[in-house]
């Protein structure tokens, strides 16, 4: 930041510690289209052999990648919509409305936000079986959306807290109901927050692995995460080229979303739930 300090030692040091990641990224891209010559790292001929999963069956009995992609898209989109809808109402209630027992709800929300939900997976697995929702996309969507809710409500409450009171006061004094005030005056104010929450929930849904693995193990309900996992598990030859191509296909939407919404994500991701 300042003139009298040299920066090259820092760049060098950062470059060295970042080397493993940079190597991984570079070869991830290269080897998805070029088979390396055996025993070396030099890329060979460039071809689309690794991308054959897009137009042909990989093994007998494995669903097509397009089924998995469709499932993943439905999964991530529904979760994003559900989380946005429920968080925007619940967040508003907690931020602005005089509820009975409001302090307890807020306290509960903070506890839920910190609570590691993954520990409940055994019980949720059995609850879904009781409800008849085991191995359905709907079941795993409900679970994932519910588990993302505390984070969503927390974020939305934060955004509502920053909306000036005067806006609502003006609306209420003009005789509008609280609902109309929320819908017409307050909600537009938190649109950026809602958009960011939607993007994050979509990415979380797109990347989710453990929940579909446990709660929707059937081939009809496979999402890209479980699809890719099972391809890696079942392949005795360790065809890293194929794995990398599938990984590229799977990660492209994530990378695109990241490139487009980089700024918003950097600001809000700090509160995420990954280890």
């Amino acid at each position: 930041m300042t003139g009298n300090l040299r920066i090259w030692p820092i760049v060098l040091l950062l470059g060295i510690v970042s080397a493993p990641l940079i190597i991984m990224y570079v070869f991830q891209v290269i080897e998805s289209v070029a088979q390396p010559q055996p025993g070396t790292l030099m890329p060979g001929e460039i071809n689309l052999h690794n991308w054959r999963f897009l137009w042909q069956e990989l093994d007998r009995g494995r669903p097509s990648i397009w089924t998995a992609t469709f499932n993943t898209f439905i999964f991530a989109t529904t979760i994003a919509l559900a989380v946005c809808a429920l968080s925007s109402t619940a967040g508003y209630a907690l931020s602005r409305l005089n509820l009975p027992g409001r302090p307890y709800f807020l306290g509960g929300l903070i506890i839920l936000h910190a609570f590691p939900t993954i520990t409940l997976i055994i019980a949720i697995f059995i609850v879904l079986q009781y409800l008849g929702l085991f191995d359905t996309l709907l079941g795993v969507i409900l679970v994932k959306a519910a588990l993302e809710l505390p984070f969503g409500i927390w974020i939305m409450k934060g955004f509502y807290d920053t909306v000036p009171w005067e806006i609502e006061m003006a609306g209420v004094q003009d005789g509008a109901s609280r609902f109309r005030v929320w819908w017409e005056l307050v909600l537009p104010q938190v649109k950026p927050g809602l958009a960011a929450l939607g993007i994050i929930s979509f990415l979380q849904g797109w990347s989710e692995f453990v929940l579909p693995l446990v709660l929707a193990p059937g081939s009809e309900t496979q999402v890209l995460a479980t699809y890719m996992y099972s391809v890696i598990q079942d392949d005795a030859k360790l065809d890293f080229g194929l794995f990398k191509a599938i990984g590229m296909f799977y990660s492209l939407p994530v990378i695109l979303v990241y490139l487009i919404f980089q700024k918003q994500l950097m600001n809000i991701y700090g509160g995420g739930t990954k280890g």
Binding site: M1, L14, A146, A225, Y258
Partner: protein, 432 residues
Amino acid sequence: MSSRWLGVGFLAPALVAVLFFFLLPVVMTVMFSFTNMTTATGITGGEYLLSKSRLRQLEAEGVSEETVERLESAGYQITEQGLAALAEEFGEDRADELREDYMGESFTARRDLERVLRNLNDDPIRRTRDRKAAADLFAVTILDERFPTEPAFRDALTESGIDPADHDALVKTAYTGWTWTTDNFKLLFELPATLRYAMNTAIYVVFTLAFNVGFGLFLAISTFYLPQHLANTFRTIWFLPRILPPVMYVLMWKWFTWDTGFISTVLSVFGVTPINWMTESALNAWTVVVLINGFVGASLGMILFSSAIKAIPLSMLYASEVDGAYRWDQIRYIILPQLRWPVLFMTSYQTLSLLTSFEYILLSTEGGPGGSTTTWALAAYTTALRNYGGNLEYGFGAAYALVLVIIGIILSVLYLRFFNFKELVAKPRIEQ
């Protein structure tokens, strides 16, 4: 509309979700941990079934010899059910004759019933094999028969004339469903593996956390001193592991460390035999597991700490430089004190999430080699939900999970006290 009811309506959907997928599972984890639920017992109630193979063990379980013999040597009785079967296979006429003369009669030995069948007036069954098959249609036995309820099973026992003293033991043996038990916790304390899982978890949390915080600090401070575009490049490199799907991120590590991957290929130039660097030894496995999690966690630290550093007034930093402070002094006396709270937050937040997370371990080493990287959370998952072993032990797995649930609740309540709670719950100002 009163804001009170609007609030209740706005909150209700979220509350239902929380009820079904947080509170109910917490209660059920407690319940399941006190059952012997497995794939074999099923998750709903069971039936009552005495199988032939179980018969041999009965005596060891205190059932009298007489009862076992009684169960084994089934009697024969002429019943409508048996007659209907006979009519189907051997003709109406024979069945009618048998019904007229012998309805309700019992035979202890098959020989006796066979004699009757041989001596039918109208149309005796002549071939020995046919007679045997016909006699078997009238066999009365409760072995291998399923009874939906306990009373139905007890009635059947009474009918077969089994000593009432043995009924309770038989009911217990025959039940195929799950029962309440505290054995899970006894087993938890007895198994040497439990201590190992606890130790592994401690290693995992301490080392990963140290890496996350230390490396997060390093990234945040070092990128702070770089020009904007360089800083952004490095931040992107370190942020990607966080947003890439875990399956994809761990795949890159597999390629990096496995025997056909990067490290082995590079080292083979120097004549080193290719090995799987991820699972070659416990030390290697731990290094990789800590790095995989650490790279993801460090990016969280980088983001949190970077924004805290940005909050420091620039004039303060300039002033220190005018005063001749070295960079190290600047970090030591201005930046680090500013980061005290973010570091504390990150430590407490990640302690809990690392204690309970197993996703990256499952994807990379799967707890190996030989269980050396199996943490408590992974053990709970493997016991209850991993499909390879065949029988999934839900009850025992829930006992492992319960320990984590309790720790989770205690720690998150403690964190709640850390927040400035009064300010958080200040009344909405719009209400009079």
